[in-house]
Symmetry: C2
Subunit: 119 residues, 2 copies
DNA sequence: TTATATAGTTACTTTAAAGTAACATAGGCA
DNA sequence: TGCCTATGTTACTTTAAAGTAACTATATAA
């Protein structure tokens, strides 16, 4: 077998890398969410990307998918126990981002959408 | 002006996202490195990607570029003071990656290159 | 019976990231 | 003179990620 990683951080990036996964996971650290909740909180994500990213996170054991058998469908997503082990990382990524935004733009309210989670 | 971020973690990803930046930064947490050192430690990175990523990290104030005026050239890179503020994040990304590799493959020595930094 | 609501899929296109290979620099040394 | 070194650049190609738009399913309520 060929060694896959130069350094272990690459394994983490395989799981939470890309444009959307960290964003989704940060929102899920504030509690279980329906698909429609996630779409409302992240207005710019498309249905396709949302499902795709959630599927991959589910495959990697990071989130649980809870499907209620009803019509119209109701599906909720939450961090799994393993997913919660990412909480300190997600928190510090957000915290550093806040500092960086203030450093770059002076005022974070200018750059962050008003979704009730940026206060 | 249009709000740029849904949540602050996106600002962080703009700085350290992509395939190489976290890897480069993790190596730099072990000390100042010449370009040739970095190429040796990361054999799969190309000259172009290495320079490109370092330039962006420099532009964002994360690394310092130290150029000795001599021929053949000698250039060193190190974390800036601002870059060092990422150290806790980089460390926890690596630590989580180790755990994840062990969870997925049982033995991390099977997956990590022998570059002297994975022990 | 027809419209509604929610979650998801599919084929396709666009955009962005990464990789390749050849070239540039310039002082020292054989 | 001409080659070596280390670092970096450029034009181009390839690959991967993300986005678009149209489609599906189906119990319930109007």
């Amino acid at each position: 077998m060929v060694k896959k990683y130069n350094i272990s951080v690459e394994a983490t990036l395989e799981v939470i890398g890309g444009k959307w996964k960290c964003v989704i996971l940060c929102h899920l650290t504030h509690g279980r969410k329906r698909t429609s909740d996630l779409k409302r909180i992240m207005p710019k994500i498309t249905q396709k990307m949302l499902t795709q990213q959630l599927r991959e996170l589910e495959r990697d054991g990071i989130v649980n998918r809870i499907s209620y058998n009803q019509v119209p469908p109701k599906v909720e997503y939450e961090l799994s126990e393993y997913g919660w082990s990412l909480k300190p990382i997600l928190d510090s990524l957000c915290a550093w981002g806040n500092i960086h935004i203030i450093k770059e733009y002076g005022d974070k309210s200018l750059m962050l959408e008003d979704n009730g989670l940026n206060d």
